[in-house]
Symmetry: C2
Subunit: 564 residues, 2 copies
């Protein structure tokens, strides 16, 4: 048995198309401030039976067959992908953060699990008919699973939302992150317990109590003995193997073996990978560079492949059930928000802050979807429930950012690049002095903003004459505040000649940002100036590097230099 050259060719084609589409939609989702997993799943739904399969079933069958060897291979790749994704999730969950925040984390975490769990269990156990279930032992496992699914939070999406809101490093932000880590770890252990109870993944037909005992023992072993062992071994690997290659291979091999162990116990491979991630992420010997390589490769290759493949396997229109979805959305959100907010309020947080914690923790993100998929594959839930869980995951994630923004009166964090005006991107060909350069840039901004040229030019020139605005590394930032202006706007001038802006390092400027900000916002100007200074602290522009041929190349250049 082997894939024919023809099948191999189509496999590569389908992988390429899947990856490309997933990433494209993921990036579009990001542009609109949504989690990228939303776009990635959407890509799969479009390429799978729901959309493309509906209009052109032969194309879907050709690229993503529902049977046969290629299906087996694609499924295996998806499984390896999700295992590596959970490794990254585990790496990000720093156990130390929980310890630091102590009791408050514990009460928010526990209450945020118990309340939605109890509500979810009660509804699904006492109204099994609602989900097409009959009462009995299956209904018990089903209720336990749904309860767990509603109790879970998703650290990655919560952390990402907080970063977008520039709130990650605040005290409340750290409290939320710590609670999410706690919730994540406990939630996954609960899910593992449910799976071992249900005995669904049982390979060796062990009695239930053996599976549960093994699960607990393995978890305990990984977060105590293994964690310390890794802390001891890592320096040795780093000292004697090539770096970072050696440590990368070691971590990935360990992940595979951890995945094998939990799969053999009868729970899913992802748990082992998550625990390996936890143990790895906890030691300071695991360096930033190693972490970055794994994280970036996984989120560029494996994660999109996995999330898109979900849409390939399930028809999201045919399996959409309004009642189930509505019940999950209502119970899930109320349970989680009430559970977390109440605990936060009791522990002394303000009203608005408590509610914000609740909505932040309500985000289920990728974790809910993974958990749903495992349950679906084990036959614990049907496709209708799975679709409802995916919708719950996505909508709670989409809700959490706006809710926090409103409750805490936050502004979305910005990047100075957001204010660059593509139409005010100018090549200054002639050797000119700085006031002439300000003239040129003011003129281009006058056209874009509708402000008078003289108003802009005079304000900027006046400010410039008080103190020169040349930074290090060939960058200058002439600027002014203007009345009537609604939002900041930046013109960019590029010149090979070099213009003296009185910079601190004595070098002439080759890249001039002319920055206008609203007169009534006295913070944003400082923030933009500081961010530009930070971006070009290490490297900047000289007569050799000034070679972007258009605005897009320029943007690409400063983005990949700045590194964010």
């Amino acid at each position: 048995m082997k894939l024919s050259p023809n099948e191999l060719a189509i496999m590569f084609l389908s992988l390429g198309i899947l990856l490309f589409t997933a990433k494209l939609f993921g990036e579009i989702a990001k542009k609109y401030g949504q989690p990228s997993v939303l776009g990635e799943i959407l890509a799969g739904i479009i390429l799978g039976p729901t959309v493309l399969g509906f209009f052109a079933p032969s194309v879907t069958d050709f690229l993503f067959p529902a049977e046969g060897l290629r299906k087996v291979v694609m499924d295996s790749i998806a499984t390896i992908s999700i295992v590596l994704f959970l490794l990254v999730a585990g790496m990000e969950a720093d156990i130390g953060t929980i310890r630091k925040q102590g009791k408050q984390v514990f009460s928010i975490g526990i209450s945020g699990i118990v309340v939605p769990f109890a509500m979810g269990f009660a509804v699904t156990y006492f109204f099994p008919g609602l989900f097409g279930m009959e009462a009995g032992s299956e209904a018990l496992f089903f209720a336990l699973f749904i309860a767990t699914a509603l109790a879970i939070s998703a650290l990655p999406v919560i952390a990402k939302t907080l970063m977008d809101l520039n709130y990650y490093k605040s005290e409340l932000g750290m409290l939320i992150v710590a609670s999410a880590i706690f919730n994540d770890i406990v939630g996954w252990m609960m899910f593992a317990a449910v799976l071992s109870l249900a005995g669904k993944g049982d390979v060796n037909h062990m009695p239930i109590y053996v599976t549960i005992t093994l699960t607990l023992l393995f978890t305990f072993f990984m977060i105590t003995v293994m964690r310390r062992l890794i802390h001891k071994i890592l320096p040795w690997v780093q000292a004697h193997f090539s770096w970072p290659e050696g440590i990368l291979a070691f971590s990935l091999a360990l992940t595979m073996i951890g995945a094998a162990a939990t799969e053999m116990i009868g729970i899913h491979a992802i748990f082992g990978a998550f625990l390996v991630g936890l143990a790895l992420g906890d030691t300071h010997h695991f360096r930033e560079k190693t972490r970055t390589i794994i994280e970036q490769f996984v989120s560029a290759f494996f994660a999109p492949l996995f999330f898109a493949s979900i849409g390939l396997n399930v028809n999201f229109v045919a399996n959409f059930d309004f009642t189930i979805t509505a019940v999950f959305l209502v119970i899930g959100t109320i349970g989680k928000v009430v559970g977390c907010s109440a605990a936060a309020r009791f522990s002394g947080e303000g009203k608005r802050e408590s509610l914000a914690i609740g909505f932040a923790m309500n985000a289920r993100g990728a974790m809910e979807i993974i958990l749903g998929l495992v349950a679906l594959n084990f036959g614990l839930i049907n496709e209708k429930v799975f679709v409802a869980l995916v919708i719950l995951a996505i909508s709670t994630s989409m809700l959490s950012g706006p809710a926090m923004k409103k409750l805490l009166k936050l502004k979305k964090s910005f990047n100075f690049r957001d204010f660059l005006e593509p139409k005010a991107f100018v090549f200054i060909d002639q050797p000119v002095d700085k006031y002439k350069a300000i003239d040129i840039l003011s003129d281009s901004l006058s056209i874009c903003t509708g402000e008078h040229f003289r108003t802009i030019r005079n304000a900027v020139a006046e400010r410039e004459s008080i103190m020169p605005t040349g930074l290090k590394n060939g960058v200058a930032i002439p600027h002014a505040r203007l009345k009537h202006l609604k939002k900041p706007v930046i013109a960019t001038g590029i010149t090979t000649h070099g213009i003296d802006f009185g910079s601190t390092d004595g070098h002439p400027a080759h890249c001039i940002f002319l920055i206008l900000t609203p007169a009534d916002d006295n913070i944003i100007q400082l923030e933009i100036l500081a961010e530009i200074a930070r971006t070009f602290k290490e490297s900047g522009f000289d007569s050799k590097t000034v070679k972007p041929v258009n605005y897009t190349e320029f943007l690409s250049m400063i983005k990949s230099n700045g590194g964010a």
Copy 2:
């Protein structure tokens, strides 16, 4: 059809074991100055039918079955791995380097292909019986393939050897690299042509001339239109997608599609990936960080899995044929060395230099093995010939470094870490002055080297008194040259107290390297001092970072900080 949980568990286990063993043996090979691919293949041979399968066939059958679904999945993973490896190989082959070196590269490259090709073709075509072949059309394709296989060079291993010898950036080094790139590209195109001629990978049963035409068209398209297109598109992707995630996903998706295209044409998926790599590596918009992430992940995960899997599929003892191996070794080496050296000598290089070029280009490395495996899978060669090719690949790679070293009278490049004496690693607990610190470190080196304490101490203290040796970032490098000393030796002192060594940035030293070098080698001292200064230029030691608990942790720390 799907993998059962049990099969999935064993698959993860086998992946983990394969990766771990491959990387371990790869690192051991590196320690002994050999290419890591040697160790990786060896790991597969040990885990496969040759060794483990001989002593414990049931274990091999359990972990790496020769039939069934798991075999299909493992084969597919190996194919994806090799495709990604060729992407990296393509990225490394910079077309621009060839242009710069011009005519000399062209003559060495052509002669280095034509001579071994002609010799290989003649022997295999006129003595097909030697390889168990009968005369006829099969023998023609066989001869063409063998000729191509002998004509190929392996850029990655050649580049690596030159770097190890500290000779990569020399004029001769660049000439060799450029010739290897030329050879690589032409060699792969020739192999693609042989495959399309033989029609072995032909999916759609196209006439031979169609396959050949498509191969040429596709190659031409990729290195002209596609190369320029990528140069144009990359800035757009970088400007509008998240960085470097977006560009990573884009590159990988493109690789999959390129692989699919060549597989469909009837040559192998690896050619498409190689061409995508060539096109990507050529534009300066493809940044160093993106390159590093792909290269590191591929060489830590995919490459070891692929090379180890070779040993799983072939019995290297049963299929070893002395005659075939000897013929390949002799013809391959003579053809390549003569071909390249003669051209180099004609183009004006010295005798020794010309021979060195010949032996450098003789290294076949991973490329030969990949090419052999493709031919084996297509039924163009049998397992005996494959084993002979693998031995040719490994032994020519092992030969090239020592040959160059001898011919060009080079020394292996060193790292100051190589001279650190583990037994002279001291924690200085008391607050002491710098002369007392020198006393302590001199004492520990006296025990290790057998030199008198006073000799060491006086020489170092005298040097120190002339000009203080404190560097930036909490590092100090007291040093002296000693007669009788055979090789450099370095003691390390770590202290939380901070000792004033009169450093350039005014900070006290927390890490003191006491360096002794032989009196008759006036270069090595300067090189060691410069290297230490370079390593700790960006970051170093202060009272907070001084927390390594033993020598291994210390080594791990400076290695992962230094980044090499």
